[in-house]
Symmetry: C2
C-alpha cells in the first residue's frame, strides 16, 4: 500500500492506494501557502489523515508519492519552482521523510499523471504514451518505451508555452499566442469576459452576478444550452488543442494520446470539439492517421482519483526514467 498525494495550488488530495489501483481512503484539505513549511505541514497532515481514514496500520505503507505543480527535481527530491505554491528550491522529500518516517518520491503533477494512466487508467499497459493536461494550465507528459521522458532540461512537452498564434494573446510566460493563452481555462473565461464587455449577447451574462467570476465550466454549460458565444469560444480553443495533439503525435508517434486535467471530461462540449478537430486532421493527413486512430485518443478514465493514483504510481510503478539532464 502507498499514499498518493495530489498537491494543488488550492487543495491537497491524499489517499491510500494498492497495486491494483483500489483507493482505500480519500482526504482533501485546503493548501495553505503562507510559507513552504506551512504547505509541507499541510501535506504531512493530509498523509497522516489518509492513513487513519483507511484504518490501516502505518507499517503496511510502503511509501508516499507526491505530484507537485511546477518544476521538480525528482532525483534530489526538490521542488525547484512552483508559482502556485510559492516554492523555490524547497527540499520536499527530505522534509517529508523526516516528518512522516516514510520513503517519499516527488514528481511534476502532469508527469505523475501519465504514470497513473499507464499503471491504472486509459493507457494501462501502453508504453508509448502522450498525456495532455488541460486545465488552468496546459502541459504534456511523455512515456517512451515505458520510461518517463522529461527532456534534457526538464522541459519536454511544454506545449502549453508553445506559440501557436504569432503576436497573439499575451501569456504569463512572457511570450504571446502560446497554446495556454489561447485554450486553457482562464483563457476561455477571459475571452468570454472581453466579448461580454464589448456588448456581445450571451447566456453567460445571466450565469454569474459579475462576469469577472466566469469560469470555463460556465462556458461549457452555456454551450450545452446552445449559446453562440460559448460555442464559438470552445470551438476556437478546441481547434488549437486539436492542433497540439496533432503536433505531439507527429513529433512522438505514440500509441495513444490521453487527455486529462480539469477541462477533460468525457462528453464535455470542449472535448467533443477537440475530438472533431483531431478527426479532421486524420482526414487530411495520411501519416497522422497511421499514428493515431479515433480509439487511440482517450479521456482519462481515472476521474476524481487521477491525481492520487498518478502520485501513487510514482512509488508503485517505479518507472525507470530515461535520461537525466546532461548539459
Amino acid at each position: 500500500l502507498v499514499v498518493g498525494v495530489d498537491v494543488g495550488g488550492t487543495k491537497i488530495a491524499a489517499g491510500v492506494v494498492d497495486e491494483q489501483g483500489q483507493v482505500y481512503s480519500r482526504v482533501k484539505q485546503p493548501t495553505y501557502t503562507s510559507s513552504p513549511e506551512v504547505t509541507l505541514q499541510c501535506i504531512a497532515a493530509a498523509v497522516n489523515e489518509a492513513i487513519a481514514a483507511a484504518g490501516i496500520d502505518r507499517v503496511h505503507i510502503g511509501g508516499v508519492g507526491l505530484g507537485i505543480p511546477g518544476k521538480v527535481d525528482p532525483e534530489q527530491g526538490i521542488g525547484v519552482l512552483s508559482v502556485n505554491l510559492g516554492w523555490r528550491d524547497v527540499p520536499v522529500r527530505n522534509w517529508l521523510e523526516d516528518a512522516l518516517g516514510l520513503p517519499c518520491a516527488i514528481e511534476n503533477d502532469v508527469r505523475a499523471a501519465i504514470l497513473g494512466e499507464s499503471q491504472y487508467g486509459a493507457g494501462r499497459g501502453v508504453s508509448n504514451l502522450v498525456y495532455l493536461s488541460l486545465g488552468t494550465g496546459i502541459a504534456a507528459s511523455i512515456l517512451i518505451a515505458g520510461h518517463l521522458w522529461r527532456g534534457a532540461h526538464g522541459l519536454a512537452g511544454e506545449i502549453g508555452h508553445t506559440v501557436f498564434v504569432a503576436d497573439g494573446t499575451p501569456c504569463r510566460c512572457g511570450a504571446r499566442g502560446c497554446l495556454e493563452a489561447l485554450a486553457a481555462g482562464p483563457a476561455l473565461a477571459l475571452r468570454a469576459q472581453e466579448e461580454i464587455r464589448a456588448g456581445r449577447a450571451s447566456l453567460l451574462q445571466r450565469m454569474t452576478a459579475n462576469h469577472t467570476d466566469l469560469t470555463a465550466e460556465h462556458i461549457f454549460a452555456a454551450a450545452a444550452q446552445g449559446d453562440d458565444l460559448a460555442s464559438q469560444i470552445l470551438s476556437e480553443a478546441a481547434s488549437h488543442i486539436a492542433y497540439a495533439i496533432y503536433l505531439l503525435a507527429m513529433a512522438y508517434d505514440p500509441q495513444m494520446v490521453v487527455l486529462g486535467g480539469g477541462l477533460a471530461h468525457e462528453g464535455s462540449p470542449l472535448i467533443e470539439a477537440v475530438r472533431s478537430g483531431v478527426v479532421r486532421w486524420m482526414e487530411q493527413a495520411l501519416i497522422f492517421r497511421e499514428i493515431l486512430d479515433e480509439q487511440a485518443l482517450c479521456v482519462t478514465s481515472l476521474q476524481r482519483d487521477a491525481g492520487i493514483l498518478g502520485a501513487a504510481a510514482l512509488i508503485i510503478a517505479r518507472h525507470a526514467v530515461a535520461g537525466e539532464a546532461q548539459r
Copy 2:
C-alpha cells in the same frame, strides 16, 4: 573497420571507416533501380569496391551499415517502402549478407545520420539530440538518452509531413501545406518557377536555359547576389524551418539540434535565415531559450562523408534502440 553505405535515389556512396571516423576509401556509383535486385547488386558492388579501394583485407571488415531512404524495418532487415528506390518489402539484409558474407545492418537514412552525428559529428557525445534533414525531403530523427527513438509506428519526427499552413501547397503525401511542400528543395524551385512564370523579374531567369531546370542551389546563388525573389523565397522557407526547429525543441527538449541534408551548408543564405528565425523565437519565448541557445543549433560537421559515417555508425555505435512498435 566497417563499411558505411549511403543508398540514395540517384547515387550510392560507400566507404571504409574506423571507430574514430577516419574514412579510408570513398566510392560513388549511380543507383540503378530497374528492379530491387539490380539495386542490391549495385550496393554489393559499391561495398566490394570500397574495400578494394581502401586496400584492406576483407577479414578486417566487421560489418556493413546501410542508410536507406524511406521506411525501414531494422529488426527484420527489410526495406519496407522506398519511393525513391521503388522498394516494397525488400529483404535487404539477408540478400546482402548472402552476397557479401559480412554482417549487415540497415536503417532509415535520416536515423542513420543522427547516429553519425552523435558518434562523429557536431553532436559527438550528446545523447539527447534532434537531427533535422533538409533536402529533397524534410524529416527529423531523434536520439533520447543515447537511444534512437523511432516511434510506435516508425513515424517519430515526421515533421516534413506536418501541416504548417492550412489549405496550403499540396504535398506528395496527400495533405496540403506540409513543411516539406513549403520548404524542401523542390518546393523552393517550384515557388521560383511560379513567380517567374507570373512575370516576376529575377536573376534566376538568366541562370538556367529553361526555368524548369531551377534547383535550390540556383536560388542560393541568386540570393547571394542580392536577388529579391530568391531572397524572399528563402526567407519564407527559413521561417517555416525555424518554426519546425522551435516545435521539435519544445516537444523533445533536446540538448542540441543538428541540421543536415543537401540544403544544410554552414554559411548558406537559407541556413543563415533559419538561424535568424530561431534566434527570433529565442527572443520571444523564455522557455525555448532555456532549451536551446545559439550554440546548440549546429550544422552537420561531417559534410560530404555524413551519409557514409551515419551508415557506419549503425555498426560501430551499436546504439540500443528504445521501444519497438508494440501495437
